[in-house]
Structure formats: C-alpha cells, structure tokens
C-alpha cells in the first residue's frame, strides 16, 4: 500500500518526518561528541603505531582468510565438489566466525583430552600414583586430571551449542610430544616437565583464543578455564623447584610448612608479569577434519 492510497494529510506527514529527522539529528549530535573522541583517538593511535579500531576488522579478515585457507588446503571443498559460491559463503563473516570458533573450541577440547590421558599415565607410574609416594602430589595429579575432564566437557558443550561436533581425540601434535616423552618418565621431575608443557600450552592457547573467539559463550568458558590452567602451571613450577633442590618432602599442605620453604618457592610459580603466548597451539591444530 502506498502513501497515496491512504487518506492521510501528506503535508502533515512530511512535517512529522522532518520533525523526526530533526530530533534524530539532535540526539545524534549529543551522542556524536564522545564517540568522535573515540574515532579521533583511533586516528591518533594509528599515527602512534598503537592499537586502533581497525585492528578488529583486520583480525576478522584474518579469521576468514584462515577459514578459507584451511578448508582449501584440506581438500574439503574439492572433495565435495563445492564451487566458488560456497567459497564466497564461507568467506562471509557470520559463517567464518562460527566455524573458526568451533575449530578453536575443538582444539581446546583436544588439549584437555590429552591432559586427562597424560595425568592418567602419570598416576599409573609407581613414583606418582604408587604406595608410599607423596600424597600431596598424588592428590594434585588426581584432582588436576578431573578438572581437565571437566574442561573438556565444557569445551565440547560449547562446540555443540555452536553446531559443531564434540572432539573426543587428543591434539595430534601434542600427542606426539607426550608419546615421545612417555618412555623417559623415570622420575617425578620428568613428569612435572611434561605436565608443564601441556599446562603452559593450554593456558597460552586459551589466552590467544580469548582474544579471537567471536561467540560470547565460547569466550566466557575459555577465559574461565585459562586461569585455572595457569594455576596448575604455577604449582608445577613451584614443585619443580623443590624437586630440583631435593626437597620434595616440602610439597605438602601442612600450614606449618611455610617456614621451611625456600625463597624460590615464593616466586617460581609466576615467572612473568604477563603471560606469554610463545607456546600457544595453532587455533585449528586439534579441530576435527
């Protein structure tokens, strides 16, 4: 139905439209001033080489590029005979964002799956899970294994909520590292080193992913796990120092123990002011193919 079909005073309507536009313009001016600051700041930042509002756009572009590259390299498109139209679809922000979120979450689940399996392996070692071993270390390994299992479930829940398939396998690259290390696990120190590799890789991967995930729920679950893995790493770092100085008996939860702890135990658990990302795993490393 056009306006001409209605019994309206078109002149009055035009006046209302103009009035509405004026109100809108006033409102926009009020909002524009602080926002103009943001835009100007962004320009300043670009000039200074710092962060800028376009960074997010570039990142989104990089996410889409990664998505296309991964699928083409994997032969998925050719295998299914998909054409250029689908490639264009895959390149759209909504599709690529969700697909890459799923890949990152699957990778996270794969790291957790491997951590569970590795701690299970550790518990089977006589000097970790056997009789007469350090009860605090055994309890820590047991609880940490259980926490990783909870993390895997949480990541897979997030995957399925985004329409992906749960990842039940281990990260293939880290699995290789674990398999190589297994025959060398002859004392607690070596187990701690291997566990540190996994915990550090996990927390740094999640740190990267927190900044890259587009789905708020996926970001929230990843962020809530990231710091817990960092805590695992902190305790492992402290334990490693005590093992190094042959004071593994100090790894206990007796409050009176603190007087005997060497000073290194007070700082070994957090060596850096800012968590690094040099050991982060690639976003799609553990994704389902």
């Amino acid at each position: 139905m056009s306006l001409d079909d209605q019994s309206l005073d078109t002149r009055a309507l035009q006046d209302l439209i103009e009035e509405s536009q004026d109100s809108h313009s006033d409102a926009m001016r009020a909002a524009r001033e602080p926002l103009a600051d943001l835009v100007e700041t962004g320009r300043d930042r670009r000039a200074a080489g710092g962060f800028d509002p376009e960074e997010t756009q570039r990142f989104a572009h990089e996410r889409r590029r990664l998505m296309r590259t991964s699928l083409v390299a994997g032969g998925a498109l050719a295998a299914y005979g998909f054409g250029e139209r689908l490639l264009r679809l895959l390149g759209t922000p909504a599709f690529a964002d969700q697909a890459l979120d799923v890949q990152m979450l699957q990778t996270s689940a794969s790291i957790e799956n491997l951590a569970v399996a590795t701690y299970e392996t550790a518990l089977a070692l006589p000097f970790i899970g056997g009789e007469g071993t350090n009860a605090t270390i055994k309890a820590f390994v047991t609880k940490t294994k259980d926490q990783h299992a909870e993390h895997a479930r949480a990541f897979n829940d997030a995957v399925t909520k985004l329409g992906g398939s749960a990842q039940s396998q281990a990260d293939p690259v880290l699995l290789g590292i674990v398999n190589t290390a297994k025959p060398t696990l002859t004392d607690a120190g070596k187990v701690v080193d291997l566990a540190l590799t996994l915990e550090t890789g996990a927390t740094q991967t999640y740190q990267n992913n927190v900044a890259a995930l587009s789905d708020p729920g996926a970001k929230a679950v990843t962020a809530s796990i990231m710091g817990v893995e960092a805590q695992h790493a902190a305790i492992l770092l402290a334990v490693r120092e005590l093992v190094k100085v042959n004071q593994v008996d100090l790894v206990n939860l007796d409050p009176g123990n603190v007087d005997r702890l060497p000073d290194i135990a007070g700082k070994a658990g957090f060596p850096d002011s800012f968590q690094k990302t040099d050991q982060a795993r690639p976003a799609a490393e553990g994704a389902l193919q």
């Binding site: 536009q21 960074e55 820590f140 970001k219 710091g227 805590q231 305790i235 968590q275």
Partner: protein, 264 residues
C-alpha cells in the same frame, strides 16, 4: 535532500554509520552499567570475607551493604567516574602538573583500563605496606618464601598498572596513579589492621588477588578493543597464579575451583 546533506556531513566527521553510532552509544552505556556491579560485588565479597575472618571488622563500616552504598567514592578513585557525562577527568584526582584540558574522559574500554590501573595501584600499595610492616617486625619472623612472594607480586602488579596506564596515556586519557581511598580506607586498611601473623597476611593477600582475578575475568567479557583484551587476558592468569601460590603457602588446595569465578 535534507537527510542526504546530513548523511554527507556525518561521513566527513566520522567514518562510521549512524547505525554503528547508535550501537556504540548503547554499548558504552551497557559497559558502564555492566562493569560497576561486578567490581562492587568483588570488592564487597572480599570485605565480607575479611569481616568474617576478623570477627567484627564490620564495626569499622566495611559491611558489604555500606560499601556498596558508598561506592560512589570508590568508583571515583577507580576511575569509573569517567563513565559519567560530567566530563570529570578519569583516574583519580588531577595533579598540579597536569595541563588543564589535556585528557579526554575515559569511557568504554578506557574506563576498564582506568579501573584496572586503580586496582593494580591498590595492590602495589598494599604489598608495600605489608613489606614495611614485616620489616618492622609486626608479623614476627617472615619466612623467605613469603617475603619473596610479596616483593615479586608487588613488582608484577606495578608492571600491570604501568601497562594499563600506557593504554590510557596513549589514548590521551589521564593515567591512574592514585589508589582508591574509599576501598583502601573502607576495606584494605581495616582488614590489614587485623593481620597479626604471616598466615593472616597470606589470607589477606589471597583476598586481594582473588578480587583482582575475578575483576579481570569479568572485564574480559566486556572489553572490545583487541589490544586491551589481549592485555587483560595476559594478566588474569598471573593473578590466578599469585592466588594458587598463596593457597599452597596457607596449606590449602592450591587450585580449588575448576572454573575461575567472576565477581558474582
């Protein structure tokens, strides 16, 4: 024609559409309202814990309700007053050396940065206070691991504060160099006054670290700028590590929670 001219002018002034502008305005408002309760809640919960532990700390007006009701002053020192429309400079009180009109109000992610800097400054100040008291013999003999922890954590919190202030100054926002006097006088000082031994000091520091970690986790969900988000994500795990070591020192489960908590 009128609308077309208006749109053209907008394009010259800002490289964003009106729809984006409306969205940004809404986001800023939501950010303002969403950030404050979490910070209040984290601080309030810590105050509750301190009061419970001290058995009567509420006498010195640190009840959660009073703290929350009196949160305006606390927010000022945390830099959150800059979220208001009254053009108050962000980051605590202006100093005589600040040229007038140099800084812009901190809103959105800058408000989060100001909040984080204020919280980190409080941590630095508190650890320094603890180190001074320890040196004066107030806690008796301080184990080497505890002394090293306090000194190292203080340095790292100072690094965090400097990083957030770098974000602020690079964005022409006022750096936050002050501590939150309301939080300090309402929560930290009364809590610290109850500390008489090393274990009490460790518990006190644990509350501070847990509050910081919870605040960062909450902010990670709200920050939009990629740089600020990466910075927060690089700091939150470190605060969690501080807490883990304090739990270990206290003889408690070092990783008590399977999932990190926000302030709620």
């Amino acid at each position: 024609m009128k609308k077309k001219r208006s749109s053209a002018r907008h394009s010259e002034v800002m490289a964003i559409s009106e729809a984006e502008l409306v969205g940004l305005t809404s986001d800023l408002d939501e950010m303002h309202h969403a950030t404050l309760p979490a910070m209040h809640d984290a601080a309030g919960r810590w105050a509750d814990e301190l009061r419970t532990a001290a058995g009567g700390l509420g006498r010195v007006s640190t009840s959660r309700r009073r703290f929350l009701l009196g949160g305006g002053a606390a927010l000022g020192a945390l830099g959150l007053v800059a979220c208001t429309d009254d053009d108050v400079p962000v980051g605590g009180n202006p100093t005589p050396t600040d040229p007038p009109g140099t800084y812009r109000p901190s809103t959105g992610d800058f408000a989060v940065a100001a909040q984080a800097a204020g919280l980190e400054n409080l941590a630095v100040s508190t650890y320094q206070q603890a180190l001074d008291a320890a040196a004066a013999g107030r806690f008796g003999a301080v184990p080497p691991a505890v002394a090293t922890f306090a000194a190292t954590a203080k340095t790292q919190h100072a690094d965090h504060a400097a990083a957030w202030n770098s974000v602020l100054t690079n964005g022409s926002r006022r750096p936050v160099n002050d501590v939150d006097q309301a939080l300090k006088s309402g929560v930290v000082d009364p809590g610290f006054a109850q500390v008489t031994d090393v274990a009490g000091l460790a518990r006190f520091a644990l509350g501070l670290e847990n509050m910081a970690a919870a605040s960062y986790l909450d902010n990670i969900a709200k920050i939009e700028n990629a740089y600020a988000l990466k910075l927060a994500a690089s700091i939150q795990p470190v605060e969690m590590q501080h807490a883990a070591i304090l739990n270990f020192v206290l003889g408690q489960d070092p990783v008590p929670d399977t999932f990190a908590k926000t302030g709620s």
